[in-house]
């Protein structure tokens, strides 16, 4: 924690900022300030206005009303370049890297060091400066690696490296850890603290209160586009913050564990392999239970889920569905049999960005909404309305593009797509990534609800609290294999981490292809 922040003048002051999109008031006269050298967390539910506020500060959009004062001068940013030039850097929630370019080229895009007189890119200097930025984050990456060759977590770190390389005075991070594992998060925190010590003001937007309380000096809460309160972290606690965010007490994050588990398994996976991605994976799923699938990034969890779903081919092993052998060669067959998969990256694999919310919700069930090959608008609307209500998706008009929804609502829309179908086995991959606390609770309640109705759920997640809180038992993967299973009292973060990092081999009834 940094000290004596109260003696300094704020480096950034937002006064009475308001912004509307169409008829939606995203910000209502919000005031906010950041002191140099402090880590200031900004929290709030989806739609609270955090992203909007940050986009105004970063120059992506302009406020309808209100003023921004930076280092004592009133400023007006009409383009991200202006904000960057002023010394404000932002790491967005949505990654904006060019996948076919290298890390170095992405980090220094638009401002590559050049050889004087010739104007050519000075590749040596580019390499050095990129390495320097990556080292700060503790990353051992070759700056010439193509971004498309590294995974989502690494890409997020590259984004952060880019922001850091700007030598800024204000650094804004919007949900920076959604794809990161614990070690990477620690490395990031260390960097941020160092930057704060150098006098950089850090604005940290996050849903994860544990991070807020571990890292920040101050926390500001927004709700429904309005400022609710700002407190020193040392003078408050998570419950109070949640109360401020939600306006009410949240009983529990996770619903009670289920007791609906049926003895006969509905899904039996034996010796499943897919090249190098995973080998000899065996487990059962029973209707009525939620089974967590934990492991480090790259352990093969998503690959297993996708393979069961038929999205990727398998090179070995068998699957039995409802007691009978099943060959699922493609997603279409999986869906017909009631096996559904919620992808971890909704933007890349889950949503259709130019299509309406309604079109997105019926995407997997077009057949159910047609008669004689023609789609029925009324049936589609009915399903859409049902999903909107059931999942509490905040939307004014279901004909609007799905990109107009906030991240959390987009995630809900993706859920809606799957809930419109008949589900027997639901494979969910990072279902609460990038959504706020109360929405997370809703998702967990939904999953438990589905389980109680007889669905078998495989929950892939990198958030250990979530895995432990939501699952009945947890399978842990390590480097492509099932390292072990924990349940009951053994479901602790340490046990899971030990299995995930390969430090222990646990017991697992289907370890060797029974």
């Amino acid at each position: 924690m940094t000290s004596n922040t109260s003696e300094r003048d704020p480096i950034l002051v937002v006064d009475g900022a308001s912004k509307s999109f169409g008829g939606v008031r995203a910000l209502r006269s919000v005031s906010f300030s950041a002191l140099p050298g402090e880590i200031h967390a900004l929290v709030g539910e989806n739609g609270a206005g955090k992203s909007t506020l940050m986009k105004i500060l970063a120059g992506n959009i302009t406020a309808d009303q209100g003023s921004i004062t930076f280092e004592g001068r009133t400023v007006q940013f009409s383009h991200p370049r202006d904000a960057q030039a002023a010394g404000i850097a932002i790491v967005h929630q949505e990654l904006s890297l060019a996948p076919n370019m290298s890390i170095a080229e992405n980090v220094f895009v638009g401002r590559e060091p050049t050889i004087r007189l010739l104007g050519f890119v000075n590749r040596r200097e580019l390499y050095q400066r990129t390495t320097a930025a990556l080292d700060q984050l503790g990353l051992r990456l070759d700056p010439w690696t193509k971004v498309s060759d590294i995974d989502v977590a690494m890409r997020q770190m590259v984004e952060i490296a880019r922001a850091i390389s700007f030598d800024c005075r204000v650094l804004i991070l919007d949900e920076p850890t959604s794809a990161l594992a614990d070690q990477e998060i620690e490395a990031l925190f260390a960097v941020l603290r160092r930057l704060a010590e150098r006098g950089v003001a850090i604005i940290y937007i996050s849903h994860k209160l544990n991070e807020v309380f571990a890292l920040a000096d101050r926390v500001t809460v927004l709700r429904d586009g309005q400022w609710v309160g700002s407190k020193l972290v040392s003078e408050t606690d998570p419950d109070e913050v949640i109360r401020m965010m939600v306006g009410r007490n949240l009983e529990q994050l996770f619903p009670a564990k289920g007791s609906a588990r049926v003895p006969e398994p509905i899904l039996e996976v034996r010796g499943l392999s897919r090249g190098k991605a995973f080998t000899d994976v065996s487990f059962d799923l029973h209707p009525g239970e939620i089974v967590g699938l934990a492991g480090l990034v790259g352990a093969g969890r998503t690959e297993v889920a996708r393979a069961i779903f038929g999205a990727d081919p398998i090179t070995g092993g068998t699957i039995k569905l409802e007691g009978r052998p099943a060959r699922i060669a493609n997603p279409q067959q999986a869906i017909e049999r009631g096996v559904l998969y919620l992808p971890e990256d909704r933007k890349l694999h889950g949503l259709f960005p130019d299509m309406s919310i309604r079109a997105n919700i019926v995407a997997a069930t077009l057949g159910d909404h047609s008669k004689v090959g023609m789609l029925l608008p009324s049936a589609q609307q009915a399903t859409t309305d049902r999903m909107v209500e059931r999942l509490d998706i905040k939307v004014a008009n279901t004909s609007a593009s799905v990109s107009s929804l906030s991240g959390g609502n987009q995630q809900k829309a993706m859920f809606g797509k799957w809930l419109a179908a008949t589900v027997k086995v639901f494979l969910v991959d990072e279902p609460t990534r990038g959504i706020d606390v109360s929405a997370k609770a809703e998702v967990h309640a939904l999953l438990r609800d589905l389980a109680d109705q007889g669905v078998a759920i495989l929950l892939v997640s990198s958030e250990l609290p979530e895995v432990i809180g939501a699952s009945d038992r947890v399978l842990v993967m390590h480097e492509g294999q099932i390292a072990g299973e924990v349940s009951g009292a053994e479901m602790t973060e340490e046990n899971i981490m030990r299995l995930a990092t390969g430090q222990t081999r646990g017991t697992h009834t289907h370890a060797r292809g029974a």
């Binding site: 130019d354 299509m355 090959g373 023609m374 797509k417 007889g454």
Partner: protein, 354 residues
């Protein structure tokens, strides 16, 4: 027990109260105006008006302008119909994010096959059309398989087929010459008057195909899948859409429609040659884009494609009736295309930003 879908709620509860007469008309009007095609319609009307003014004549007893005469407008219809049919086929391919550069070659090859068939069968129209259209279907199948199963870039794959088809046509013509001397009934079929237009059969067919295409694109399950695939191919696959099958089918339909036009082309011009349809593919793609299709896929309507063809036809005819020299016509056509697409992009972007 698998989860059942929830029982249907009272749907009416979610809707707005039944609107009264007045607002419904207003709402309908608003929906119409919000359609992307309105922009193209507006540009068409403006362009037509401009040519109307430019070609005004002062001779008594004649139409006020050369451009706006029934005979002139009617003369544009049949050639426009041919382009429009191909455009609808191309649109399907475009929406899925692909391209089909082989359509012009298919027009020629199908025309040759049809020409030979009609002569060999002494005028059996059914077999003639069947033979001609199968050429398009076969080319389309090959295109579809190469693009989906072998993941070849559509531009390259269809360029290759264009070469093959055009080459086959040339090889035939070099050895045996162009095909002509068709039975009377074949020529009559193409030239008979329908709906007061000589050679109206093709116009009627074009209207039917455009209307059917538009309705199906908006409402049918199979063609709606094109938009999903064009919008996010991965997500479409993960949503259970059989991406390969649907994409391949667009190439088959595109080829079939181009072949259909090829058969009519041979009948209309009394000759089946290897040089028909040269350059048609790019014209048709341009027309689709003017009408609202995106080269990146995921957008476009059949109505828009037809409007795009109409605009290009109007410009070509207008420039000629106005008397612009040939070289300058090309310049003018290019300029107008750029302007039209820019205006369209500008307006469309303004709208989505609101």
């Amino acid at each position: 027990m698998p989860a059942e879908r929830e029982p249907e709620p009272n749907a009416a509860a979610d809707q707005e109260p039944a609107p009264s007469r007045q607002p419904r008309v207003g709402a309908a009007l608003k929906t119409v105006l919000r359609q992307r095609e309105i922009i193209t319609v507006a540009i068409i009307i403006v362009t037509a008006f401009v040519f109307h003014l430019l070609t005004m004549s002062s001779e008594p007893g004649r139409w006020p302008s050369v451009f706006v005469q029934t005979s002139n407008l009617k003369s544009m219809l049949a050639p426009l119909a041919m382009t429009a049919i191909v455009a609808v086929g191309m649109l399907l391919v475009l929406i899925c994010g692909g391209f089909d550069l082989s359509v012009g070659a298919v027009v020629a090859l199908a025309g040759l096959v049809a020409g030979l068939t009609v002569k060999a069968t002494g005028g059996n129209l059914f077999l003639t059309f069947a033979a001609g259209i199968s050429v398009g279907v076969i080319v389309g199948l090959i295109n579809g398989i190469v693009v989906t199963k072998f993941s070849v870039n559509p531009l390259i794959a269809t360029l290759g087929m264009m070469s093959v088809a055009r080459g086959l046509a040339l090889a035939y013509v070099q050895k045996y010459g162009v095909v002509s001397g068709f039975p009377r009934n074949f020529l009559d079929f193409a030239w008979e008057t329908h709906i007061w237009i000589k050679g109206g059969a093709i116009v009627l067919i074009a209207i039917a195909i455009a209307a059917l295409g538009d309705v199906l694109l908006r409402n049918s399950r199979w063609l709606r899948q094109l938009y999903y695939i064009g919008g996010n191919q991965d997500a479409a696959r993960l949503s259970g859409i059989n991406v390969n099958l649907v994409r391949a089918s667009t190439y088959v339909v595109c080829g079939a429609l181009a072949a259909l036009v090829g058969v009519f082309y041979a009948a209309r011009y009394s000759e089946a040659s290897a040089e028909a349809g040269v350059g048609m593919e790019l014209q048709v793609i341009a027309a689709c884009v003017i009408g609202g299709a995106s080269l990146a896929g995921g957008q476009g309507t059949a109505l828009g494609a037809v409007l795009g063809c109409t605009l290009m036809s109007i410009i070509s005819n207008g420039l000629q009736t106005w008397g612009v020299k040939p070289a300058w016509q090309q310049v003018a056509l290019g300029v107008v295309l750029i302007v039209a697409v820019t205006i369209d992009m500008f307006i469309a972007r303004r709208r989505s930003a609101r």
